[in-house]
């Protein structure tokens, strides 16, 4: 009975130990897999910021165009009102 319990205890603890080891391996693999992301992000940023900057330029351009068009639309609207 005692020997059976000892075997059961040993096998249980080795399973737990095995799980922990596997988890450590998984964490280390994940860390290693992610290593280099700083260099990747730096490189990606060098390209993506251009898109952001041009997006801003485009938005400003559209904004200016809207601002120019709006008063002219209003003017034509008010002049037609005067005609009536």
């Amino acid at each position: 009975m005692i020997s059976f319990l000892l075997i059961a205890l040993l096998s249980f603890s080795s399973t737990v130990q095995g799980r922990d080891d596997l988890q450590d391996v998984a964490i280390n693999t994940d860390k290693l897999w992610r290593t280099g992301s700083g260099a990747h992000d730096g490189s990606y940023t060098a390209i993506s910021t251009s898109m952001i900057a041009w997006g801003i330029g485009l938005a400003i351009g559209i904004g200016i165009l809207c601002a120019v068009l709006r008063p002219s639309t209003n003017t034509s609207g008010s002049s037609s009102a005067h005609c009536h």
Partner: protein, 249 residues
């Protein structure tokens, strides 16, 4: 706004400091960006990218410099090998090792990568240094055909990469004394603002403290310490704010 615009406007660089005051950095790693380049909005960048400056160009791909950091458990050689293999897996990327590069943080490695984009080929030089389990990656990039035009500017940026425990130590003796006096005055004013019974945050954000003390201090840093560059100015202002908060708790 996606871009924070020119960094000589204190209103535009005020916001990030308030969100990062709880962070205490024992070492500051910074570089001096090219004059007149715009500061990219931090909220639109990867959290690993600490700062990014964008230059001007008539082409679609704008020149830029940025500093990224990453916690690592590997040596510089291993890190470089990982970066190389990452790039080699990408058919749009061509990677080259440009050799050793000495920096105040220690020996670094200068690398180059060319990336195909829809606007043309982007050429980037990356200076990679590892110090205290942290990789510092300074990237300077531009359109390949424009790269030689920016080369001197990029070289100056790479050479300016430095690390210091005390940001005020990087300025001249005369300016250091001026800076310490200004910081002392600010500390006294902040201590007086706290005595009114409000919280530290409320005291800092109060109209009177902002108008009479913080904004003039910020403006003085921006106007009188231009030689240190915008990144140093931002780090200093962030650090001073952190010190104000820390000493008041």
């Amino acid at each position: 706004m996606l871009l924070e615009g020119s960094y000589n406007d204190p209103e535009q660089i005020n916001v990030p400091f308030l969100t990062e005051t709880t962070k205490s950095e024992s070492f500051h790693c910074f570089f001096i960006p090219p004059k007149g380049w715009d500061l990219a909005d931090q909220s639109k960048l990867s959290p690993r990218v600490k700062i990014c400056f964008i230059g001007k160009s008539s082409n679609n791909l704008l020149p830029s410099v940025n500093l990224a950091t990453e916690e690592v458990d590997v040596s510089l050689k291993t890190y470089i090998d990982i970066v190389k293999s990452d790039c080699e897996r990408d058919p749009n990327c061509v990677w080259r090792d440009l050799g050793k590069y000495n920096t105040p943080l220690g020996e670094g490695r200068l690398t180059e990568r060319e990336m195909k984009t829809k606007w043309g080929v982007s050429r980037q030089v990356q200076l990679i240094v590892i110090k205290d389990h942290r990789a510092y990656i300074l990237t300077a990039g531009a359109l390949k055909e424009e790269f030689s035009r920016h080369y001197q500017v990029f070289e100056a940026v790479l050479r300016s990469l430095t690390m210091t425990e005390n940001l005020t130590a990087s300025v001249s003796l005369e300016k250091k004394q001026l800076l310490q006096k200004m910081m002392g005055n600010l500390q006294t004013a902040f201590a007086a603002a706290i005595k009114t019974g409000v919280s530290i945050e409320q005291a800092f954000e109060s109209k009177n403290f902002q108008k009479e003390f913080w904004k003039p201090f910020q403006q003085k840093i921006i106007n009188d310490f231009t030689e240190m560059g915008a990144y140093w100015q931002i780090l200093l202002l962030r650090d001073v704010q952190h010190q104000l908060f820390k000493r008041s708790t």
